[in-house]
Symmetry: C2
Subunit: 140 residues, 2 copies
């Protein structure tokens, strides 16, 4: 059982979370959570995330272990970004391996629920978009 936890204050890269299944792992499930262009109905350009890093990493590791054990999955890697994350970019990426697909999917579902509930990482600010002006070369 291997767990890798990382908080990064820069764009998340494929090599941050890449898990290569070994010959006993038939399933690899990944989840990427992207910042959407609206927050509470308002257009935004980015979200800003803040983490209480030591506790967040400890909690992510604890939750990962519990979810892997409960669902019989193999390995889990999670990378969460902090700071300003523009719309369309990943705020979090999680990868789970297991022998069979059901265990990996159930582990992922449970882990994402717990991540939202229990881990001290917060959206502290939504940077507003200018709906009328955005992308216009010649404002009228």
């Amino acid at each position: 059982m291997a767990i890798v936890v990382q908080l990064v204050a820069r764009p998340i890269l494929p090599e941050d979370w890449k898990l290569v299944p070994d010959g006993s792992e038939g399933a690899l499930v990944t989840f990427a959570g992207h910042v959407r262009g609206t927050e509470s109905g308002n257009a935004i350009t980015a979200l800003e995330y803040e983490a209480y890093a030591p506790m967040a990493e400890q909690e992510l590791r604890r939750i990962a272990g519990e979810c892997l054990a409960k669902h019989g999955a193999g390995r889990l890697t999670v990378v969460h970004r902090t700071g300003v994350v523009p719309v369309g970019e990943s705020a979090v990426v999680v990868a789970v391996t297991s022998a069979h697909r059901k265990a990996a999917l159930a582990c992922m579902d449970a882990f994402l629920d717990r991540l939202k509930q229990d881990v001290p990482i917060w959206k502290i600010r939504a940077l507003p978009g200018d709906e009328r002006g955005a992308g216009r070369a010649c404002p009228d």
Copy 2:
């Protein structure tokens, strides 16, 4: 709602299935199904897959549409490999986007169940491994 279906008789590449979420899609879930080193308890080196291609593609497209609609997900891409797939390589990769994570995970779970049940793609042969001799430079 966009669906991309592909059967390939070569290794699956990232560009075959890559889905880039637009600003309204907060979730991207991917599944890769890898060939495991044992089949029915025996060591193997590869599995060989065969598809009835026209019907397989049609079924994949139909099932994808049903699963996206049922679970309110956005887009789905599926790539299935045919021919000999060595242990550790992907036989199938699926990617699903949606506004929120629960819809994408539920759509993925349902789609993989239906893929196994309803789509005319079969494992026709397991290529046996030589457990004693494998990897030995100087057999005794």
